[in-house]
Structures are given as C-alpha cells and as structure tokens.
C-alpha cells in the first residue's frame, strides 16, 4: 500500500474514532489485506500526519492509550462556547437499552431489540460504551457471533451501587411505582 493511501486511512480512522487509537488497533484496520503495515511504517506515516497539522486547528497527540487528534489549546475559549448552551440529555432509547443490559446481562443487541420491539441503533451502543457503562464480555456462538454486553464497575460507581443486587427486582419495580419524591 502506498504511503499516501496509508496516510488517508489513518487520518480517517483517527478522526472517526473519537478515542485514542493504539498502533495495534491501527494495524487491525488492515485485517484481511495482503499487506498489513508494520509499526515502523505506521509511525512514519503518523509523523508525516503530525507535521501536516502545523497549519491546522488540531495536532496529533500521543497519550497512554494511543494517538488522537486534539484541538489546540489556544482555541479552547471558542470551543468552550459550543457546550455552554444546551445541557445534554440521554434519549429514552438509551436509558431503556442501559436498563435492559443491567437487568438481562449478558445480552446481545438482538435480544434487546426483541424485548424493546424496536431496533437499537449502533449509536446507542457506542454512546454507552464510550461512557464506559457497558462493555463486550463475549460473543454468543450463533451465526454472526453477536457481542454480549454487560454493565461495568464504572456503571455501579456512577449510580452509587455496590452491586447489581442493590437495584430493585423487577417485581418490586412492578408493584411499587418508582417513588419520585424518594430522598436521595
């Protein structure tokens, strides 16, 4: 693969990923192709990408878990204003998906769809994974090998739970309406 092409692919992956990419993960982009670039080739192309950024609003950074493009510090005052306006909220679809993963884990996307009666978009799964509330713990051995999702320690921490057992059981949920005025 010529260097120009390699550079475009790495640039695309880094900008699409929204998280740092390790060299191993970059190599996986070429899985199944005749020629997988070695780490040396990757580093060379990354160096070229980094120097091209000199005139741009972002730079290539290497952090513990890999490489990422990052907006320059000097532009922070303007970028900050982007988030000032709207406090974000999760959609009902995200909350339902999260709840189902908590209660039915380990569970596949298809199984969640069966219960919800609605297809679950990949974005929902991606959002929850990025938030580090769910992760893939395995694959169901059926055609397509769908990923099995489970909640994480970070999920428990966020909601201040010691274990999943502290969540109300389904029967409790059904019988007692969730008390809106429950003290924190």
């Amino acid at each position: 693969m010529d260097e120009q092409r390699l550079k475009l692919i790495l640039e695309a992956a880094l900008l699409a990923a929204a998280e740092p990419l390790s060299l191993e993960r970059m190599q996986k982009l070429f899985a199944g192709e005749e020629e997988v670039p070695d780490r040396h080739a990757l580093r060379k192309v990354l160096a070229a990408l980094a120097s091209e950024c000199d005139v741009r609003a972002y730079e290539l950074k290497e952090v513990a878990s890999g490489f990422r493009f990052q907006i320059r510090q000097s532009l922070a005052p303007w970028v900050n204003r982007l988030w000032e306006e709207r406090p974000q909220r999760y959609s009902r679809a995200i909350l339902e998906t999260l709840a189902l993963i908590a209660y039915r884990q380990p569970v596949t996307r298809g199984e969640i769809e069966d219960i919800r009666g609605v297809s679950v978009s990949s974005n929902i799964i991606k959002t929850l994974i990025e938030r580090e509330w769910i992760r893939v713990v395995g694959h169901r051995e059926v055609p397509g090998r769908p990923a099995l999702y489970a909640t994480t320690k970070a999920f428990l921490d966020y909601f201040n739970l010691k274990s999943l057992d502290e969540l109300p059981s389904l029967i409790e949920l059904k019988d007692h309406a969730v008390n809106e005025d429950e003290p924190e």
Partner: protein
C-alpha cells in the same frame, strides 16, 4: 433458468394438473417457501414480481394469466399451511373480479366504461415507484455505513461536552416502561432471578478468555454460602444458554470450564 422458461412458457404443462402439485417453474423447496413469502412485501410486490419475471408491461397485463399464476402461489402457500396475510386473499378476490368483468361481453352502451384493470394498474405503478424510491434511498451514502462525522479531541484540560447526568430513577422508569410494553412482567422466572447471578455471569465470561479454567477457581470461600450459590447459579445459567461448557476427563478428575467455541 427462469428466463429460459419464459421463452417457452410451460403453461400448458401445468393446466389440468391437480392443485398442490407445484409446477416446475414455481417449484420452491418447502423449507424455502417461508423465506420466499417473507421476501415479498405484500400482494402488490408479488404481482410485480410475476409481471417483471415475464417481461410483461404493467400497462397491459394479461389478467387471466397473471391471476392464474397468482392463485397458484396462494394455493401452494395454503397447501403448506403457511399463514397467509389477509391482504393476499383480498388481492386474489380482486383479480378474480377483474378477470370476470373482462370476460363478460360488454353491451355497446358501456363501451366507454373504464378498463377494470385501470385501478389495479395505477396501484401497481404507484407501488413500483415507492419500491424504486426505497432502493434509491438505501443507496444514498449514509452515516454509520458510508460516512462518519469527523471529530477531534477537545483541547487539553477541557472536558468533552459534559456527559449527560442520569438519575437512577430515570433508568428504572425507563425499564418499567419497556417491561410493561413487552409484558415481561408476566414471565415468572424473571421475578425470582437475583441480579447478582446476572452480574456473576458477566464476570465469569469476562475472566474465562479463551483458556480452560478450573471449575473450583470460580468459588471464593470468603464470599460465604450466598456467594457460592450465586456463582453456581451463574455457571448453570451460562451452561443452559450454551455460553460455556464443562469438561471432566475421568470421574472425580478436576472439572474444567471453557467458553463454547
């Protein structure tokens, strides 16, 4: 193969044969028939397929012939006791009606009466346009499949757009709603399933990796009786859903656990 037969329509062969004997050009292995039926989005879709397959013009459908072929599909589906949506039968009735009206000699006074096929043709055309539109829509480049939004990490010492805050009660309310919708509350076995078992299932899967794991290593005495029971239930549940398997070479030898490969 179908194209070849269109050149020499095998129609005469079929005529007179008892229904339920699938004619060659219609023969579909019974297993495939359900799939086949699902492949059609309804009677209009099936009709369009029959018309296109023979390179006929929608504007000038030979009603009698198409009706006959349509009925063969319907009978075949009934024969195999496939559940047939009412829409298919409605269309069969409509085709039969049009056919009979075309066959009846028309008194001269009604010469300028509209062609009984007109309404069907209009519907077929309209449906065909939508079918094309759906294909064109599917071919458009779209996010997730063909495009991705380009984004970069926010500047140093600045959080990403603040992640939404979520109250646990919101999650529980969402769950209540989805469960009520799916009527999952009526499933008895779910009530009794302690969540710790689900949690343990995730943990077992997580630490299994691709290796063998000795059965007893999952049990931690410090968790007490309750912990042991939870682990056992988790292993049994995983076994039942065929996510893990147990192995033992000889009686009383150590039992090993591994992922189902």
């Amino acid at each position: 193969m179908i194209e070849l037969e269109v050149e020499h329509p095998p129609l005469a062969r079929i005529r007179g044969e008892p229904l339920g004997e699938p004619p060659n050009d219609l023969y579909i292995p019974p297993d495939a028939l359900q799939v086949f039926l699902e492949a059609f989005e309804g009677p209009l879709d099936l009709l369009l397929y029959l018309i296109k397959r023979q390179n006929l013009d929608i504007l000038d459908i030979p009603i009698a012939e198409i009706t006959r072929q349509y009925m063969e599909y319907i009978d075949l589906m009934r024969e195999l006791r496939l559940e047939l949506a009412a829409e298919y039968l409605l269309m069969a009735a409509l085709l039969a009606e049009i056919k009979s009206r075309l066959l009846l000699p028309r008194p001269p006074a009604e010469e300028n009466e509209e062609d009984p096929r007109a309404e069907l043709i209009r519907r077929l055309q309209e449906y065909e346009r939508i079918r094309h539109a759906a294909e064109a829509l599917d071919a458009l480049p779209r996010l997730e499949r063909d495009l991705a939004q380009a984004s970069a990490w926010p500047p140093e010492d600045m959080r990403k757009p603040p992640a939404p805050e979520v109250d646990l009660r919101e999650v529980l309310l969402a769950l209540r709603e989805v469960m009520a919708r799916a009527q999952m509350f009526s499933h008895h076995h779910i009530h009794k399933e302690p969540l710790s078992v689900r949690e343990r299932m995730s943990r077992v899967l997580d630490c299994l990796g691709d290796e063998f794991y000795e059965f007893t290593r999952f049990f931690d005495a410090s968790e007490g009786r309750r912990g042991v029971v939870v682990t056992l239930l988790a292993l049994l549940e995983l076994l039942k859903s065929q996510l893990i398997e147990l192995m033992q070479d000889t009686p009383f030898a150590p039992i090993y656990v591994r992922r189902v490969a």
